[in-house]
């Protein structure tokens, strides 16, 4: 008993001792005696152990000195392996806040503590950035002025091997009129044409229906997160259109057109199924990702297997899923604690300049590109490994034009399609007090939709699901949505 009391007493004492104030310290960007400004940068995969990142930032230092007479020294932060958002949050919450921070989620908590700089005045005063902002960037920065990510839309687009595409008689009809019915017919024919059991099924996705939604969601009338109905808003996940969409997905599943094991697929096994020929269609982020898919597919299955980009299904609307414009989901931020905010932004602005764009978009001269009499030639190494770390505006002009395009034809097609079907969403940032309810509602939806698609529950139970969803917080958040959406 005495030991027990001692144990409890020790615990209480430790706890009481713990209740003292902590002191925190913020980052302190320094200017040395030679006037060199040190900027601490944290960026996913761009730590000091990555030789390409070290060289990139060394080249950037030189370019800033030559072109802008700016003495900057970059200090890269090594991030541990694992979920970047999680590790970054731990770094920032420890009080170690770099000047320039790349976020891939988890930024709101930091912004809520006033640790991120409002970039609006910087953008207004910028020399280059204000001119390269894309429409969705402008909307997002208005709603959430802490993150900047000037990149093309990240919509995913469906792709299929060209030889399989041309082998299907229904492919022409699909391209001319990509209705849900024509898609269904095309999927069926692709599987019927299977040679040696390949493909096994028409389409696969990575673990959930988000990628399938990029093809079909809009066609079913689900063009926004919050749909207007009789003068008020309801969440698309509890709408009649959603019910129709799930019914169709269930049909795809029952007919063996949707991968029977889509729920246990990860991004890597999804891609493997595509290259191996088990899946005829997958979706990938337009642009560079489609470029990689195209490269790998032709490498594995020959030039005839070059990819064809499929259009989004057409119905009540046509397009890939609506683009969230509440905020950038990833991007660069400047610490409000930084002593060199202006310099940090100058770096970002320089990367939007013609000189900065050459460095960021093309890589290292002599390695990723060569300047010849015929123009700017991109090397194999560029196509295999280079990607822009910062900005990718639509306009990109060089003194000596590119001999070969930045993207392969399928990748460029996917990008053009994504831009053509840009459709801003009316979603909003979920307030902190609703986060756990939103999570519960999302799980109820995931559970029900997976069960309906795989035939474990009939779609006739949709009303029961809606009731459960509303009870988990849906009714409350819908009320909030109706007050929030302008």
């Amino acid at each position: 008993m005495k030991k027990m009391l001692l144990l409890v007493l020790a615990f209480v004492m430790i706890f009481a001792a713990a209740c003292s104030n902590d002191s925190d310290d913020a980052s302190d960007a320094t200017v040395d005696k030679d006037g060199v400004v040190t900027l601490k940068v944290v960026f996913k995969d761009e730590g000091p152990s990555n030789p390409v990142a070290v060289k990139y930032f060394a080249n950037l230092e030189k370019a800033l000195k030559e072109d802008k007479d700016l003495n900057v020294k970059f200090e890269l932060v090594e991030m541990p392996q694992g979920n970047y958002a999680e590790k970054l949050n731990l770094l920032l919450m420890s009080g170690d806040i770099p000047d320039l921070i790349y976020f891939q989620g988890g930024d709101q908590q930091i912004a809520n503590q006033d640790l991120l700089e409002d970039l609006t005045p910087y953008i207004e005063k910028s020399e280059y950035i204000k001119d390269i902002m894309l429409p969705h960037n402008e909307e997002r920065i208005k709603n959430y002025p802490y993150l900047l990510w000037i990149k093309p839309l990240d919509s995913k687009t469906p792709v299929i091997r060209k030889d399989w595409f041309e082998n299907a008689a229904s492919s022409d009809a699909l391209m001319v009129d990509p209705t849900v019915e024509n898609y269904h017919t095309f999927f069926k024919e692709v599987v019927q044409n299977a040679d040696g059991g390949k493909p096994s099924y028409a389409v696969t996705v990575a673990g959930d229906i988000a990628e399938l939604d990029t093809i079909f969601k809009m066609a079913f009338g689900l063009n926004q997160t919050w749909l207007e109905q009789d003068g008020s808003y309801i969440n698309s996940k509890v709408s009649e259109q959603e019910k129709a969409k799930l019914t169709f997905y269930n049909q795809l599943y029952e007919e063996g057109l949707l991968d029977p094991q889509y729920l246990t697929k990860q991004w890597d096994t999804k891609e493997e199924a595509f290259y191996d020929g088990d899946a005829a269609v997958i979706t990938g982020t337009n642009g560079k990702v489609i470029d990689i898919y195209n490269g790998k597919m032709t490498q594995v299955n020959g030039a005839d297997a070059e990819l064809v980009v499929l259009p989004p299904a057409k119905g009540e609307y046509q397009g890939f899923i609506a683009t969230d414009i509440t905020k950038e989901s990833r991007g660069l931020a400047i610490s409000s604690q930084s002593k060199s905010k202006d310099v940090a932004f100058e770096v970002l602005d320089y990367l939007a300049s013609p000189e900065g764009q050459v460095l960021d978009r093309l890589g290292f001269e002599g390695e990723h590109f060569n300047i010849t009499d015929s123009g700017t030639e991109l090397t194999e190494k560029y196509y295999n490994e280079w990607y822009s770390r910062f900005w990718e505006p639509e306009a990109f002009e060089l003194e000596k034009p590119l001999v070969t395009p930045l993207l392969s034809e399928p990748a460029q097609n996917s990008r053009d399609l994504a831009n053509e079907f840009y459709n801003p969403d009316n979603s909003f940032i979920i307030p902190e007090e609703f986060v756990s309810k939103w999570d519960a509602m999302e799980n109820i939806y995931k559970d029900f939709s997976a069960d309906v698609i795989t035939g474990k529950r009939p779609v006739s139970e949709f009303d029961d699901y809606v009731k459960e969803w509303n009870e988990a917080g849906g009714a409350e958040i819908t009320e909030y949505a109706n007050e929030t959406i302008k």
């Binding site: 430790i14 713990a18 913020a26 988890g106 503590q113 997976a450």
Partner: protein
């Protein structure tokens, strides 16, 4: 024991205490010092400036969450299943290994059953997903051979918890049997000798000598395991969960990871961890005292 007695004992067995020192250091650094951080459960964390005391705010949010009790229920069910169905396996395994007399074969068996412990749950999840795959998985091939219908275990609400239990068994049974084997090793051979002279069979020796001698170790391990009752296996669930099974195997740890860690709500995550810790302490202490009263054996 008096202060003087403790020091005399340390002086006498200083080599043993020296060997114990790294373990004590480990627990102080990783288990005792973090208790200081538990105050965060009652604060709103500020990176710059002082944290704000909010009392039980995070606990209220936690208990008011619509998903919390579902998640807690899943955690309790999965943990109970693991304790009931998995806990005896390493004991049985150690008893079986102990009966193996062939040295090289015994070593081979031990190596094979220890091996899965060194694989990460990412790899194990991949192996089990392939093994249980409805179209090419070994389990369904066997089922089909016996004219049984194909089952998709990984997406089945009825089977997924069993998948967790059996995959845990496959991974940890061998490793967890080491402690029992060590306990068996220190049983005096003269007891077996005497039993053999009295005509005891192998099974009787196991029943009347090995198992009773093993009981105190079993009790201690069981009580200590109860301290981790609400740790139903984050890595395992995280790698095996999918949309179809989320309602059955979403546990406290995965929930806290989503809401707390990924959203940077560390105070909320700390409140959940403290809740788990308190439950663990209560379970350990109550089981210890019950065990003391019933069997005279406990953790101390």
């Amino acid at each position: 024991m008096t202060q003087k007695g403790i020091f005399q004992r340390i002086k006498k067995d200083w080599v043993i205490y020296l060997m114990l020192f790294p373990a004590i250091l480990y627990f102080v650094i990783f288990n005792v010092i973090p208790i200081i951080g538990m105050k965060l459960a009652f604060q709103d964390y500020r990176v710059i400036g002082d944290n704000i005391w909010v009392g039980l705010k995070h606990f209220k949010v936690l208990f008011d969450s619509p998903a919390f009790f579902d998640v807690l229920q899943n955690t309790i069910i999965i943990s109970s299943m693991k304790i009931i169905f998995f806990f005896p396996i390493p004991i049985i395994l150690s008893l079986m290994i102990n009966e193996l007399r062939n040295g090289p074969f015994r070593k081979y068996v031990q190596s094979v059953i220890y091996l899965p412990h060194f694989l990460s749950w990412v790899v194990i999840a991949g192996v089990w997903i392939s093994l249980l795959s409805p179209d090419s998985g070994g389990v369904n091939v066997i089922r089909n051979f016996f004219q049984l219908p194909t089952l998709d275990y990984m997406t089945s609400k009825d089977h997924i918890r069993w998948v967790l239990v059996f995959s845990e068994m496959w991974r940890s049974a061998g490793w967890d049997s080491i402690i029992y084997l060590a306990a068996i090793m220190k049983i005096s051979p003269s007891l077996y000798e005497a039993a053999r002279i009295d005509g005891a069979s192998t099974l009787q020796q196991m029943r009347f000598i090995t198992f009773p001698q093993l009981l105190s170790t079993v009790v201690v391990v069981f009580i200590l395991n109860l301290g981790f009752f609400l740790n139903a296996g984050f890595d395992q669930v995280f790698n095996m969960i999918n949309d179809s099974t989320i309602s059955k195997i979403d546990i406290l740890d995965t929930y806290v990871y989503r809401i707390g860690i990924l959203n940077g709500q560390y105070a909320y995550a700390t409140a959940a961890s403290l809740f788990k810790g308190v439950i663990g302490v209560v379970l350990i202490l109550s089981t210890h005292f019950i065990s003391k009263r019933l069997t005279g054996k406990g953790v101390w």
